[in-house]
Symmetry: C2
Subunit: 142 residues, 2 copies
DNA sequence: TATTGTTATACTCTATAACTATA
DNA sequence: TATAGTTATAGAGTATAACAATA
């Protein structure tokens, strides 16, 4: 088990703390999503389609910062499993929508994410989660 | 450039925010450390040896959560470059120390890390960095 | 000329299994 | 029996380059 690292200057560094916290939280989330045969990436893709039905895979890639070349096997996998459907919107792009099964899976995804949040938010003092989320958002957005 | 992602439930999620913020900060840090021919991993290794001279590579791996098999090429690379020296402490393990050149490089690493911190801490409201660091530490330690 | 989807490919990180030599 | 260092290897995730079809 990863010991706390005791005293090193690393513990005062933003990049180090971000990396360790992210790795820990994402590892827990990955285990939970594995039970649904999903990765954090494919789960986030389903959430985006659920919020924006008809979106193209290139657009999803731009939102999630996933290269469109890497969206291809992800989308193909989810479609093969009957979780999403494609409909041509013009000659080169498809609008993606969740199937009923896809929407049902999104419900289960949300449950796993909530369990993940509960696990780690409980390690913070009351009312600190919102401030943490705001700080993190400021860090990478704009 | 990664757009902010507008309105998706993702923006309210701890795991998502951690992942995006960590990726952004680490990408910037990686670019800065590239100028020193280092990765965030090898740079953190040098910082640990600087703080704990005589430490073994397995022990560094435990502190940083890097598998000892993956420490091997990293340590070999740094030694080849004359940044660290090994001294047998018993028949199976070596104590690692930085050379003069290694210590000099650590000074430059700290400068790059400070520039990285400045870049991203400036996006927070005054006095929020400490709270953010404390929250992140609570997230993965213990 | 730019964009979508696609293929192929490479590179980095990380993980596991196995071996040796020591303890 | 457990540990340090090592080798080899496999799997993610991510990156680039190129192409066809379409806008």
């Amino acid at each position: 088990m990863a010991r706390s690292g005791q005293s090193t200057e690393l513990n005062g560094l933003l990049g180090y703390q971000l990396r360790r916290a992210s790795a820990m939280v994402m590892a827990d989330l990955a285990v939970r999503l594995e039970t649904l045969d999903l990765t954090p990436g494919s789960a986030s893709m389903l959430l985006v389609i659920s919020a924006k039905p008809g979106i193209t895979q290139s657009e999803i890639g731009r939102i999630l910062s996933i290269k469109r070349a890497n969206m291809v096997p992800m989308a193909a996998n989810l479609q093969t499993r009957g979780l999403l459907s494609r409909k041509r919107v013009d000659g080169r792009s498809h609008g993606l929508k969740l199937t009923g099964e896809g929407e049902a899976l999104v419900t289960r995804i949300r449950r796993q994410i909530k369990a993940n949040e509960k696990e780690f938010a409980s390690r913070l003092e009351a009312g600190q989660l919102g401030k943490l989320l705001a700080g993190l958002a400021a860090m990478w957005q704009q």
